[in-house]
């Protein structure tokens, strides 16, 4: 009986201790925020503003050089997003900014429908960033911009001339303006954060970091490569129109690597996440070309190797990330009932 009571008291005591401030985990959290999260969203805003400017310039005076700048600045925003997108907590979660900036995976062809509805609107009113911000999330961010710029990947839509091309350019310009505003709100939200580090903030960050591996594996890899060669779905790939699916996976993993370097500055012997993440990064970097083509061809095993390496990192992250931040993460989103 005494042992039973002692065990009960231990459970309660450990629970209480976990809720108290911890200088070590506060330090780790603050470093992740100041060295990864804040610079990440700052770069995103800079890139999104540059992309907005590129649209304005091109719509005003279309040229081949201007179109190249439009493409290049789109890739720059997408790069910066790939480096920051896993940080869903905080300002990205408010006003559903994450979903509005990046409506993906797309369902029911919602982006195409939203673009068509905007283009075919009867009122003829000018497109503005403010107006786009009140529309469906499918119209508000990168997937809509990618579709306007790259079409179906081979047949590039016209964005100049009179009539439809001009109107499409105005629409792209307004969407880019809205995206820049969303990026700015996310950036300033992080910059203006209070100095208080709550256990909730740490738990949310830990959840984001663990979930990031699950999203990469399930949505960005498994949904594309399928169970067999016959199940490969090239158009399930992220940003397949602009041909940057693998680049996004590499950038996602590289951010996770930077976070690991802070989480495990002093590497305890039993911690395996940094090595597991590095393995996944190395495999991802070694893949040249398109993940779907790879998975459908003779080197399918490389795609499987990538999936398994991210899976292994996810398993380690689920154990090691919450421990490093001194928090617990929820499981309802992973295995609810």
């Amino acid at each position: 009986m005494i042992r039973t009571i002692l065990a009960a008291l231990l459970v309660v005591a450990s629970g209480s201790a976990a809720a108290q401030a911890n200088p070590r985990t506060d330090y780790v959290f603050e470093r992740i925020v100041t060295e990864v999260v804040v610079p990440g969203f700052k770069s995103l805003e800079t890139a999104a503003r540059a992309h907005e400017s590129a649209w304005t310039a091109y719509c005003t005076e279309p040229s081949a050089v201007g179109r190249d700048r439009l493409d290049a600045s789109f890739h720059e925003v997408a790069d910066r997003w790939a480096s920051a997108e896993m940080m869903r907590t905080g300002p990205a979660s408010e006003d559903f900014r994450h979903e509005r900036f990046y409506f993906w995976p797309e369902r029911k062809n919602a982006v195409e429908r939203a673009l068509a509805a905007a283009m075919n609107g009867e009122d003829g009113a000018p497109f503005t960033a403010r107006r786009i911000g009140g529309e469906s999330a499918a119209l508000q961010g990168l997937p809509a911009l990618e579709r306007l710029l790259f079409g179906n990947g081979t047949d590039r839509p016209g964005l100049s001339g009179e009539g439809e091309g001009k109107r499409r350019c105005e629409l792209g310009s307004a969407i880019a303006g809205n995206a820049a505003r969303l990026a700015s709100e996310m950036n300033s939200g992080w910059e203006k954060r209070s100095g208080d580090i709550s256990a909730e903030a740490k738990a949310s960050l830990a959840t984001d970091l663990v979930t990031a591996f699950a999203i990469i594996k399930d949505t960005k890899i498994e949904a594309v490569i399928g169970d067999t060669e016959a199940d490969v779905k090239p158009r399930a790939a992220e940003f397949w129109r602009s041909g940057r699916s693998m680049r996004d996976i590499v950038l996602n993993l590289e951010t996770m690597g930077r976070v690991n370097a802070i989480l495990f500055e002093v590497l305890p012997e039993e911690v395996a996440l940094p090595a597991a993440t590095q393995t996944a990064i190395d495999i991802a970097r070694s893949i040249t070309g398109n993940l779907a083509d790879l998975a459908a061809g003779p080197e399918r095993s490389s795609a499987i190797l990538l999936r398994d390496s991210v899976d292994a990192a996810q398993d380690r992250a689920a154990i090691e990330v919450p421990a490093a931040l001194g928090v617990t993460v929820g499981f309802n989103s992973l295995d609810g009932d």
Binding site: V11, A18, E99, S136, A137, A203, S204, G330, F331
Partner: protein
């Protein structure tokens, strides 16, 4: 998790940290009960107030799922998460363990149950493991929760179960998912689902009616229920089909209208990520809350207006219970316990009790 009797008893620590002072204070206000885990993975069931202040907690041998209250008694049944094989009855006065009950050989639990109006019989959703057919196990609360019988749930994979206000009719959410303890929680029939809502006569166990959602929604698993005082049943679903689809996830069942699916704006539907974890009516029944832990959102539906009145982001939100008219209490796996007003102009309360990983469901322990 299948647990033998010795392990089960060893895993139960009754009434730990029960504070009688806190209890006396808490009696003045509404209390709640929910399963949870700590950072080390230890499972318990806890009673607390709307501010997250704990009244008692009782260790569980493994993760629990829902809790149901026994009428005219200070007892609550705490069910193992599927495919568990046990439930525990605790005292709602201090968390003391009253009974520990095992499912019989060949049966496992789905995590929900409901008492008869007099509190004498407990009805538990179960699986006939050999055939996969859904069952309702009957346990006699007046005789140490001895299992005295069973009857068909009217479908495969019964999950939530509730009693209608007439006191005579059970409503069962047959989710349509066939599972086997040997393969854990894996769905064995993803392409052959037939979910339904079954209405069953409590006394004679006759199947009064089954309501299906239609051929195009066969992969929409009906999982959770909330019953309003006037008998309107709200249900929440989880979609087993393609992630590209965005089927309706919420509906109501009434005697006059049958099944009606709530028409929710597509943008809002996308946020639910094809998954509703809990549903609850507020006091008065003017608002329905649906939580989606996958989407990390709580969605409030205004019953009178027939429209979404609030959609709020809360990570890992799942547990939902009425706190007052126009206010809910919600729990999350990583963002604690929070008050969620239905009015979008009123902010959520700051998270309390966040050191716990709150599990899927939240029940009102004292009706005031």
């Amino acid at each position: 998790m299948v647990i033998d009797r010795r392990q089960l008893l060893a895993g139960l620590l009754a009434g730990l940290c029960s504070g009688q002072g806190a209890r006396a204070e808490a009696l003045k206000q509404r209390l709640f009960i929910s399963c949870r885990m700590d950072a080390a993975g230890a499972a318990s069931v806890a009673c607390f107030d709307a501010a997250g202040a704990e009244v008692f907690a009782t260790s569980l041998p493994a993760r629990g799922h829902d809790v149901t209250l026994r009428p005219f008694s200070a007892e609550a049944a705490v069910f193992a998460r599927r495919p568990g094989n046990w439930f525990v009855v605790v005292s709602t006065a201090d968390g003391r363990v009253v009974s520990v009950v095992h499912a019989p050989e060949g049966r496992h639990l789905y995590g929900h149950g409901v008492f008869s109006p007099d509190g004498n019989l407990l009805h538990v959703t179960e699986n006939d493991i050999a055939t996969g057919y859904g069952l309702i196990g009957i346990y006699d609360a007046t005789s140490a929760y001895r299992r005295i019988g069973e009857f068909s749930s009217g479908g495969i994979g019964p999950h939530d179960i509730a009693l209608l206000p007439d006191g005579q009719t059970l409503v069962v959410a047959n989710g349509g998912l066939r599972t086997h303890p040997g393969t854990g929680r894996e769905t064995l029939n993803p392409g052959d689902m037939k979910p339904n809502l079954a209405l069953i006569d409590l006394r004679h166990h006759d199947l009064l009616a089954t309501q299906e959602l239609g051929a195009s929604l066969r992969q929409l698993s009906i999982r959770h229920l909330a019953v309003r005082r006037d008998g309107l049943v709200a249900f929440g679903c989880q979609y087993e089909g393609s992630a590209d689809d965005a089927p309706p996830l919420l509906g109501t069942l009434s005697a006059s209208q049958g099944i009606a699916l709530l028409e929710i704006d597509e943008d809002v539907m996308f946020r639910l990520k094809n998954y509703v974890g809990s549903v609850a009516f507020d006091d008065g029944g003017n608002h329905l809350l649906a939580t989606s832990p996958r989407g990390g959102v709580g969605l409030v539906w205004d019953m009178a207006w027939g429209a979404v009145s609030r959609c709020v982001a809360v990570p890992d939100i799942c547990g939902a219970a009425p706190l007052a008219p126009e206010e809910f209490l919600v729990t999350s796996g990583n963002a604690g316990v929070r008050r969620l007003p239905t009015d979008p102009a009123r902010p959520l309360s700051a998270p309390a009790a966040i050191r716990w990983i709150w599990d899927n469901h939240l029940a009102v322990l004292t009706p005031d």
